[in-house]
Symmetry: C2
Subunit: 311 residues, 2 copies
């Protein structure tokens, strides 16, 4: 089958799905478009958490327990930084730190993030293409009951405890898609929205001018996978965040967010009763197991999604 399978991806949830996808099609046939709304500067270093999670996962070096960071990483630097009085709530392992040092040094040297991301992937042996949604900075800010917070302060420092009442993607309006992003979507054989948080993982990608248009225009089938199962999030604060924003925390509410460009909507067997209403939104429902508790489920989810799109 010619053409690439393009995946819109957030962090851990998307990376788990990509593990399954890379087990059923050649890694070279996968292009990932990654969220950079969560990017931040830590101690002057440029950190791209979602891109790194995807890269480490596809490189096979991700910490399997937490789903992010490098397996077996040590924390000598961070422990010493704590001794010096530096802020250490953002947990940077020693090996992980090398990625940020390398990225920062290349970015400061003038290389765009897409080239930097490609270099890091290549160095770690990743055969899929990983593209940031944009080379321009887009930053996710949240209105919460604790005030206006940047994403990582909300997510890591406050451990996603605060009530979210609003979301903003600063810079998204003027940001251009990174070179290759629109082209990959338009020429793909299939486009999949990974089971990531639709608000703060997929939301920033869709907010970059031109990406949503490309998704509507592409001749490829587009499928979105629900990160909500039986009203609960597969991972993280998705459900609570959706409710805070006045939505229902349901697969159907996620489907509504993607109805203008998605042809297929993948939902869990536990939500099979929503199939009719997904269909009423104009999408073909694909009912399967989406709780990626094992390598087998990840693989089967990827296979079922592709099979539906290519039938």
């Amino acid at each position: 089958m010619p053409g690439k399978v393009v995946v819109l991806a957030g962090g851990v949830g998307a990376a788990r799905f990509l593990q399954g996808l890379a087990a059923v099609i050649p890694a070279e046939d996968i292009t990932v478009i990654g969220n950079t709304g969560d990017d931040l500067e830590v101690h002057g270093l440029c950190v791209s958490p979602d891109l790194d999670t995807v890269t480490y996962t596809l490189a096979g070096v991700v910490d399997p327990a937490q789903g992010w960071g490098i397996a077996g990483d040590t924390f000598e630097c961070l422990d010493h930084l704590e001794k010096l009085g530096g802020e250490t709530w953002f947990r940077l392992g020693d090996r992980d730190l090398a990625t940020h040092i390398y990225r920062t040094s290349l970015l400061r040297g003038g290389l765009p993030l897409s080239d930097v991301t490609a270099r890091i992937g290549r160095s770690l042996g990743v055969r899929s293409r990983i593209l940031p949604m944009s080379n321009d900075p887009v930053r996710t800010w949240l209105e919460t009951d604790q005030g206006r917070l940047d994403f990582q302060t909300y997510f890591v420092k406050h451990q996603a405890r605060d009530q979210v009442n609003g979301v903003e993607f600063i810079g998204a309006e003027s940001a251009q898609p990174a070179p290759g992003v629109a082209g990959e979507i338009l020429t793909a054989r299939a486009v999949i929205v990974a089971p990531s948080n639709p608000i703060i993982s997929i939301g920033p990608i869709l907010a970059v001018a031109g990406i949503r248009d490309a998704l509507r225009e592409t001749k490829a089938s587009v499928a979105a996978i629900s990160p909500i199962v039986a009203g609960r999030a597969l991972k993280g604060p998705t459900a609570r965040m959706m409710e805070g924003l006045g939505m229902e925390a349901s697969a159907l509410a996620v489907a509504e967010l993607y109805r203008d460009f998605a042809d297929f909507f993948v939902l869990d067997r536990q939500d099979a009763t929503s199939s009719g209403r997904v269909e009423a939104l104009g999408m073909k429902p694909v009912v399967t197991d989406t709780v990626m508790a094992s390598a087998l489920v990840k693989k089967e989810l990827a296979r079922a999604t592709l099979r539906a799109m290519e039938s």
Copy 2:
């Protein structure tokens, strides 16, 4: 005895002397004025090798075998950086890296280097005052047979193999002494030039406008300790560098460089025959053991230097 003992210091040789000095007088009574001509940016991080060597040594955490870096440090970050394709000739340990990350973040936040250095010292439990010679950037560049090289490229990357024909301290002319530097020299009870390379460790300090004047003006006795013993350097490329610059590699040639402000010159027993010529330069010779092979010799060198100055 009131007043501070002020020590002009380069890196490892000076730090070894300071270990001895801190064993014979209270650490609180010592002020170090450190060379920053060797400072550099590595991967966007601000590194101050000489200040760190002095700080780690006085904090008791220095690697005793190499005389710099932190004892027991690991190199996970650097090893990963190498895998990514980054430059790794400047050996940064994981804990050491925390110092550079912390310093860089404070400097970028607008704190002057002298405050940053004080904070790092305090966090590591250092009770002596450590001052950079200047908060303004001064950079040592060398004319060599391999071209014009910054200090660390010459010293670390090329392992000090190249023939040095000229030395330049970029920025020294317009640099101001850091707050406290001139005052500490002028109000000291004694000033000691550590047994460091007179060209590239002490040279930059003396090149900062006002520091040499303060050394000439202070009412305190000033002693300089020879880093050259029997025509050889105690450490590093001092002897070869002096020859390359048309000097003799001898204790006497070092004495000549300091004759305008030094009252005492400390030389090794092996060079006792130069005593008369040191005296002819207008300095009182102090002959003792200067090869700091043990804690005892370090202590005795400090004690003999102070005793001569305070008798």
